[in-house]
């Protein structure tokens, strides 16, 4: 199963933000997207997630038994956390587990409790998200990656607001995902120490 992006163009507010962009990612590949503010990193990730329409080109999952839209096999973690402040971390994850659970099986996913534990949040599991600090919330959002197993991870500045421990933890999880044949596209300003990851530098 491969992710093929062939000369994609995306326009926002009438301006071409991305143009003639192409790449192919095979299982185990990671693509790290860098570039100055406004280069189009978030735009690319949203387009991959099917949240922005393509002005030209195509994004396809090749080799899946029946053609799938990328968005249905991808996890998207953007700037926003997608968690309800009044629900507990556990409840939020349980909901996403249920609603993102995919028909065509795939690798077995973690239980919400396990996912929180492996993000060092076990004791925070039953607190409403509203009382958590910025980084704690971010970690709950990232735990979503573990409760529903999807081959493609689309991460927009995943390390933001994470403390040192959480950053290393996330790094390990990403590497494990790649080893299991997953695909990662991550936008970052810092560095993600993923061995043999490919780099895409966007410019204005």
């Amino acid at each position: 199963m491969r992710l093929e992006v062939s000369d994609v163009r995306v326009e926002r507010g009438g301006r071409r933000v991305l143009d003639g962009l192409s790449f192919v990612l095979a299982p185990g590949n990671a693509l790290i997207v860098t570039g100055p503010n406004g280069a189009g990193k978030s735009t690319l990730l949203r387009a991959l997630a099917g949240l922005l329409p393509l002005a030209a080109g195509r994004i396809a999952i090749v080799g899946a038994d029946h053609a799938l839209p990328c968005r249905e096999v991808a996890h998207y973690v953007g700037h926003a956390d997608a968690n309800k402040a009044s629900l507990t971390a556990n409840e939020n994850l349980a909901f996403w587990a249920a609603s993102l659970a995919s028909q065509q099986g795939g690798r077995s996913a973690l239980q919400p409790a396990e996912a929180l534990a492996s993000s060092g949040l076990q004791r925070l599991a039953d607190l409403p998200v509203s009382v958590l600090s910025a980084g704690q919330r971010r970690r709950v959002a990232l735990a979503r990656l573990l409760v529903a197993s999807r081959p493609i991870w689309l991460l927009d500045e995943p390390m933001t607001a994470l403390d040192a421990a959480s950053q290393t933890r996330l790094g390990d999880q990403m590497r494990r995902h790649l080893d299991q044949g997953g695909i990662i596209v991550a936008a970052t300003h810092g560095t993600l120490d993923l061995s043999d990851a490919r780099h895409l530098e966007l410019r204005h």
Binding site: E72, H79, A80, A82, S86, A98
Partner: protein, 223 residues
């Protein structure tokens, strides 16, 4: 599939119940609004009795529509909507479930509170029953039509009023038939049956059509 929808439904109810959900605000708003009218039109019981059904229906209309602003906006702002769009569940179904939960938590209570207040507006027993029935079958149309407005304004941070502006004109038919079904005074049941039937038809039509309009509006809003 079913599991996902059930989870969605439970989630909506939880959020409404939790502190901060403020599900009861709509009911209180209805009471306050209905209570305000006599101060404006004066304490003349005959007059109040005459315009009572109108007052109740307008109060319900407003508290239903004005309560819709967070229906999709909350999910849009915290990114939940993006993630839902990446799910396999068709957005139309998600919308339907959200509307159902919203109706259950905000509109249905009104249906039960309205007759109580009808007493203060000097409505007799028969009139009360009619008001209740007309509201019961009419409010789903209000919620569903209102949801379209809520979806169209999802990316704007100034929801409530704008939704009402967009949707109120569309709900005039519901209002007309609702009031005339509830309208006290007309004794014979025939005069009740006709508008009541139309009211049901309106709700069913909304049920069939609205989810698609809502889903479309949400997809474009997400870009």
């Amino acid at each position: 599939m079913g599991g996902a929808l059930a989870a969605q439904f439970r989630r909506e109810l939880k959020i409404a119940r939790r502190s901060g959900g403020g599900a009861s605000t709509g009911a209180v708003f209805f009471l306050v609004l209905a209570a305000i009218f006599p101060f404006a039109v004066g304490p003349d019981l005959n007059l109040l009795a005459r315009i009572g059904p109108a007052i109740l229906w307008i109060a319900v209309l407003l508290s239903t529509l004005l309560g819709l602003d967070r229906l999709f906006q909350a999910d849009y702002e915290d990114g939940s909507l993006d993630v839902m769009l990446t799910g396999e569940m068709p957005l139309e179904l998600i919308v339907l479930v959200k509307c159902a939960a919203h109706w259950l938590t905000t509109a249905l209570p009104l249906v039960f509170v309205a007759p109580l207040f009808g007493l203060a507006l000097a409505q007799d027993g028969a009139a009360l029953v009619r008001v209740t029935l007309s509201l019961l079958v009419g409010t789903p149309a209000l919620t569903l039509i209102g949801a379209i407005g809520a979806a169209a304004t999802v990316s704007l941070r100034r929801g409530g009023l704008l939704i009402a502006v967009l949707v109120l004109p569309l709900t005039i038919p519901v209002l007309i038939f609702g009031v005339s079904a509830a309208g006290a005074g007309l004794a014979d049941p025939v005069r009740f049956a006709a508008p009541f039937a139309i009211l049901c038809a309106l709700s069913l039509a909304a049920l069939a059509g609205a989810p698609f309009a809502v889903a479309a509006a949400l997809r474009y809003g997400g870009e």
